[in-house]
């Protein structure tokens, strides 16, 4: 619809300006603008303009004498909860609240009894586990030492992914446990899927409103509403998660030599002109595109037309179906909520049966390694209109990669180390959406939508003289290339020790000549490698750690920081066990003492992990 003086509140000049501007806006720009105007208006008029359905807000069940002190605790693995917690705190402070913002691991648990208002933001990791910096707090709260919390008002924001069985489990656990300890919910818990911006913004608004109402004194301003768009807007750069920067690909090559069973892409992207800042340890979010063949196959299977216009967001922005399936919607992952919605939409009896009580295990097995094409083919869903079908789909989530470059060494660039995921399942070749796009379709000169995801849980020690031990097999070595590069550039004198491993020395030694140079120049003090397929005996990094047990413990006693990056399921657990065993053996400690030693390291941020 074209704006006119007659159908809008604008004058002729404004209409012309708007008509010139609006068609040029990208979707991300529109979203941003929408949020910006909302926020601006809120501040100016003191009126909440984002409609928060009051019916969803719990009535305030707390005692009348309410403190203006609010404690915001976050447990964050990739930094999303941390980022949200910071935004929330800022908003609270602007409303005159006294905010204590802390990661769960930094929070002194004996202070919990005195807290009156607690806002807790936490993600769920792996198979329903808390993130690293939430573990100690989680365990404390679930232990017998946990205090009664009768005076506590709280609310939980849970981040998760519906494609996992234990969706938002950690958030749910906290929510339940705080209630058991006597706490009263300020607002109901909100569980967010990967596309968390909107529900998180809603939760923040409700929390703000609720707290403001409770503490309201005459003359106090009403809360400022916060939009999804402004949630992730960063102070330094106009680009963010919701408004990604189009980064040009400067280099894209395979790091694995011929004959390798692996393919690992090394990407160099330009951040020139973006003002995006990052530090070693941060991640880069990349919005991928689905595989064109899968999109075509899906369109064919459903008898759709690729040119048909469909909505790509809740504001009704329309795009051709083909483009929507390529860039806007997730089509490679099946989740229970998705299947529920599709079942509802289609009334398909097979799906309804699959969802029926008692068949949970079957459902879980079905959604493993299957995608939308499987679903529509297996259940004969042809005949559903595309415009309806897409409303059941999740927005395509960004992929996060640990950044492999030091910004000091490569100003205006960001490097990634991405292992290509290809496998066969259920009679079809399957592809990692982003990794295969980068391996097969992303050409030098192309642009990728990216944003920086700060990760304060994975940072070099502030003291440049502190020794560090880095354990990063496979692509887990990526952030350590950034660490060592940074320490070289800054002239840090601390010792650096890297444990690396993969399948074969000859073909899979990622960034080999760079490590060799750093060793020769003395930047890297030691390096130990484990190649699991070169000998009959499978050797992994944890075996090398155990072999160097004495020296490793010596480094720990010198105050070394330990960093682990890479596969969570096996590697990180084995490395953790090895670390504890080393402390036990070399420190002459009991298993309990050694575990305490490790916990202390965690609390002191001397044991940091970036595992996935």
């Amino acid at each position: 619809m074209e704006l006119q003086v007659t159908n809008s509140p604008f004058n002729q000049e404004q209409v012309e300006l708007l008509n010139r501007l609006l068609p040029t806006l990208t979707e991300a720009q529109r979203t941003w603008l929408c949020g910006y105007i909302t926020a601006l208006q809120g501040t100016a008029a003191g009126i909440a303009t984002v409609a928060v359905p009051t019916s969803q807000i719990s009535p305030a069940p707390v005692a009348p004498a309410v403190s203006k002190d609010v404690t915001v605790l976050f447990g964050s693995q990739t930094g999303n909860c941390h980022g949200l917690a910071k935004k929330l705190s800022k908003q609270l402070e602007e409303q005159g609240f006294q905010v204590t913002l802390s990661s769960m691991s930094d929070f002194k648990t004996n202070a919990l009894k005195k807290v009156e208002n607690l806002l807790l933001l936490v993600s769920t990791h792996g198979e329903g586990e808390p993130p690293d910096n939430a573990i100690s707090f989680y365990e404390f709260l679930h232990s017998k030492r946990a205090p009664k919390l009768d005076h506590l008002a709280y609310s939980v924001l849970a981040l998760g992914d519906t494609s996992y069985e234990f969706f938002c489990q950690t958030g749910k656990d906290f929510d339940k446990r705080l209630e058991e300890l006597g706490g009263k919910r300020l607002t109901p818990r909100v569980d967010c899927d990967v596309d968390f911006d909107e529900p998180a913004a809603e939760w923040i608004n409700r929390v703000l409103q609720s707290l403001t109402e409770l503490t309201a004194a005459p003359g106090t301003a009403a809360p400022t509403a916060i939009s999804a768009a402004s949630l992730s807007a960063s102070a330094e750069s106009e680009y963010s998660r919701s408004h990604p920067f189009q980064a040009e690909i400067l280099e894209n090559l395979n790091l694995n030599g011929r004959g390798s069973e692996r393919e690992t892409r090394h990407l160099e992207l330009s951040l020139e002109g973006s003002n995006l800042q990052y530090e070693p340890g941060d991640s880069l979010g990349v919005y991928p595109e689905n595989h064109p063949q899968l999109v075509e196959d899906l369109i064919t299977a459903m008898d759709w037309r690729g040119e048909e216009a469909v909505a790509t967001d809740k504001n009704g922005t329309e795009r051709p179906l083909r483009e929507a399936l390529l860039r806007h919607y997730e089509i490679t992952v099946l989740t229970k909520p998705l299947i529920e919605q599709v079942a509802k939409l289609t009334g398909n009896s097979g799906l309804q049966e699959l969802l029926s009580a008692g068949r949970e295990a079957e459902l879980r097995a079905y959604i493993q390694e299957r995608d939308l094409l499987d679903l529509v083919e297996d259940y004969g869903l042809k005949g559903i209109a595309a415009s309806e079908f897409v409303t059941t789909l999740r927005k395509i989530p960004a992929r996060l990669y640990s950044i492999a470059s030091s910004p000091s060494a490569y100003p205006d660039e960001v490097h990634l180390t991405v292992r290509t995921v290809r496998y066969e399942a259920h009679g079809r070749n399957r592809y990692g959406v982003c990794s295969v796009q980068l391996a097969e379709r992303a050409q030098i000169g192309d642009k990728l939508p990216v944003f920086v995801q700060h990760n304060s849980n994975f940072k070099l020690p502030a003291n440049p003289d502190t020794p560090i031990i880095m354990i990063g097999p496979g692509t887990g070595v990526a952030p350590f290339r950034a660490f060592v590069g940074e320490r070289e550039e800054s002239g840090a004198q601390g010792k650096n020790w890297l444990f690396y491993g993969d399948q074969h020395f000859s073909t899979d030694f990622l960034y080999q000549i760079e490590w060799q140079r750093w060793l020769k120049d003395g930047v890297l003090t030691r390096m130990d490698v484990a190649f699991s397929r070169d000998t009959d005996k499978k050797v992994y990094v944890q075996h090398r750690m155990l072999e160097k047990s004495k020296e490793l413990y010596q480094w720990l006693e010198e105050g070394a920081y330990v960093y682990v990056c890479g596969d969570e399921k096996r590697m990180a657990h084995d490395v953790h066990a090895a670390l504890t065993a080393i402390i036990e053996r070399e420190g002459g400690m009991s298993p309990e003492k050694a575990a305490e030693y490790v916990s202390l390291m965690q609390q002191q941020k001397r044991y940091q992990r970036d595992v996935y």
Partner: protein, 573 residues
């Protein structure tokens, strides 16, 4: 005894390699440590110099060099491992061991060398120790297969006169054993030999070589006329068997041959050895030892390019050497006996030896033992080794003799030969049967051009010309190397190509058919088109105007294409 290397023809400081050897503590260097460095598949250059004495050098797959550098990977470092057997004689068990380690640790192929040794390529640093251990367990060795020492002693595997051969071979083996380095480093590093504090002084530790070994490699070959397959004139020291009345009487001695040179440096040149006299079989070991020690004391240790024995002889004169040798021996060599060489190539196919046993000589293109989809050579030989009760003989022309087959086993061996289609070259042109190429790219670090991978396709084109001229069955010796170091002894071939740059070769003509005469540069730095065009004209001319029995190498001199080279010092003139 003089401390070696005190006498040097020039007063210049010794080359860096001399220093590495001197500091190495009898070839140990820091090998033990650098072999274990897990961050690189390479070893430092100093250790690589020493590694050669242990029978190996570091190479990298040059095909992948640029690609891997882009990939932030070091070059595909790998080691060439040379396994020597004096005279090239190995048992079926040893053959099976080589086959096994080639599959297990190498690149799945075996290379038979022009010095009757085996080469394995593509052995990774981490596997060197296991490979060398398995080789030694099977009573073969890599020690002194390369380096500034005496190399594998070559010997004619003459299947016609097996008794004489047996006797000659025994002498070759004794010379070889006598000149083996004595250092314990080899056992310590590779075979977990106990490290004992060595209280022996220099003379005891290396009585022949001393702590700095020789100035350069040293090569010995033993020929049994009429075959000069070992190219006796290319050797630093040669022995030519003298057989009278079916008895081995002794050997004529030749000194001062050698192939290697450097492009663009006329002070370096190939040379043919000169006959200086005759010795009895019993004297050969002494003659070899004294000759090696003269070279040790007088060879040039300042300039490696000028360090081979041929330059010591040419600089000081043959008379000087004969006197020096006589004084060290305490007697003079007898006058040389007459001898006659007919050829330096191999004779293929079945022959019955004088001992009543059978021999089958296989044609192995460029000495490469591998399985091709249409030619399962490696598998076939493995199967034969599995049932064979005689031995295998590696020829100086990179071919293989399945030797001493009993009449009882002959049928079975023949069946396997047929089953796997193993060839004696009967279906190939005589030119191809007389061809040799060195390894060159992608593994050899010295190669300037392709050789092993290229010669077969060049031969296809030359064969066409030969066929057009009715010369398919004419024996012509043709050789190619990727660089002028001369591993395939190209300077003695009737037609030769020595690599200058990718796709470019120097073309030489006029070597003697029996390996008795050097060839001469005909055209410089030419590519395939010019090679083929040149040969087309000359071959046609040869077909038309040659005399009865006249060899190609003799014809090109008579026809004026090149001048005859009687001495290496005329090679560049």
């Amino acid at each position: 005894m003089s401390d070696n290397n005190l006498v040097s023809p020039n007063s210049a400081p010794h080359s860096d390699v001399e220093d590495i050897k001197r500091r190495s503590n009898y070839l140990r260097g820091s090998l033990e440590e650098t072999l274990q460095d897990p961050i690189t598949g390479s070893i430092p250059e100093d250790d690589n110099r020493l590694m050669k004495f242990h029978g190996s050098y570091m190479q990298d797959d040059r095909d992948l060099r640029n690609e891997r550098q882009k990939q932030k990977l070091e070059p595909a470092y790998q080691f060439m491992l040379r396994v020597r057997a004096a005279g090239g004689v190995v048992t079926p068990e040893q053959w099976l061991m080589m086959d096994r380690v080639a599959q297990k640790y190498g690149n799945g192929t075996i290379r038979l060398t022009t010095r009757q040794s085996f080469q394995l390529h593509g052995v990774l640093k981490w596997n060197l120790k296991d490979t060398i251990r398995e080789v030694n367990e099977s009573l073969l060795s890599t020690l002194a297969a390369c380096g500034d020492v005496n190399r594998n002693v070559m010997c004619n595997p003459n299947p016609y006169q097996s008794e004489i051969h047996g006797e000659v071979y025994e002498w070759a083996r004794k010379i070889s054993d006598h000149l083996d380095p004595r250092t314990r480093a080899y056992h310590e590093i590779w075979l977990d030999g106990e490290k004992v504090l060595d209280s022996r002084d220099n003379e005891e530790q290396e009585p022949i070589y001393g702590p700095v070994y020789l100035p350069r490699k040293f090569k010995i070959g033993v020929a049994v006329p009429p075959s000069n397959d070992v190219d006796v004139f290319s050797q630093d020291l040669g022995f030519i068997a003298v057989i009278e009345g079916g008895q081995l009487k002794g050997f004529n001695v030749t000194v001062g041959g050698g192939m290697g040179m450097t492009h663009g440096d006329p002070l370096t040149y190939p040379q043919v050895g000169k006959v200086i006299g005759f010795c009895t079989p019993e004297q050969t070991i002494e003659v070899a030892e004294k000759t090696v020690m003269i070279q040790r004391d007088y060879g040039d240790r300042a300039v490696r390019k000028h360090a081979r024995f041929k330059y010591t002889i040419d600089d000081r004169g043959i008379d000087w050497f004969v006197n020096e040798l006589s004084s060290r021996l305490g007697y003079k060599l007898e006058e040389a006996r007459p001898f006659q060489f007919d050829h330096n190539g191999d004779r293929y196919g079945w022959v019955k030896g004088s001992n009543g046993k059978w021999h089958f000589t296989l044609f192995i293109q460029n000495g490469r033992i591998k399985d091709e989809p249409d030619y399962p050579l490696m598998t076939g030989l493995r199967e034969i080794a599995g049932i064979h009760t005689g031995d295998f003989r590696l020829t100086a022309n990179q071919n293989l003799v399945i030797a001493n087959i009993t009449s009882h086993k002959k049928k079975k061996v023949m069946e396997l030969i047929q089953k796997f289609g193993l060839t004696d070259g009967a279906n190939d042109s005589a030119l191809r049967r007389n061809s040799m190429a060195c390894v060159a790219l992608p593994t050899c670090g010295l190669a300037m051009a392709e050789s092993e991978r290229y010669l077969p396709s060049l031969l296809d084109k030359i064969e066409q010309i030969l066929e057009e001229n009715g010369l398919r069955e004419e024996d012509i010796v043709i050789r190619m190397t990727g660089c002028p170091n001369g591993c395939a002894r190209p300077m003695l071939a009737e037609i030769a190509f020595i690599g200058k740059a990718p796709g470019k070769y120097n073309m030489y003509l006029g070597g003697g058919f029996s390996g008795n005469r050097l060839n001469k540069l005909y055209k410089e730095n030419i590519g395939e088109t010019e090679i083929v065009d040149s040969l087309r004209a000359i071959i046609a001319h040869y077909a038309k105007d040659r005399h009865e029995g006249e060899h190609f190498g003799d014809f090109v001199i008579r026809a004026g294409y090149v001048q005859e080279v009687l001495d290496g010092r005329q090679f560049h003139s």
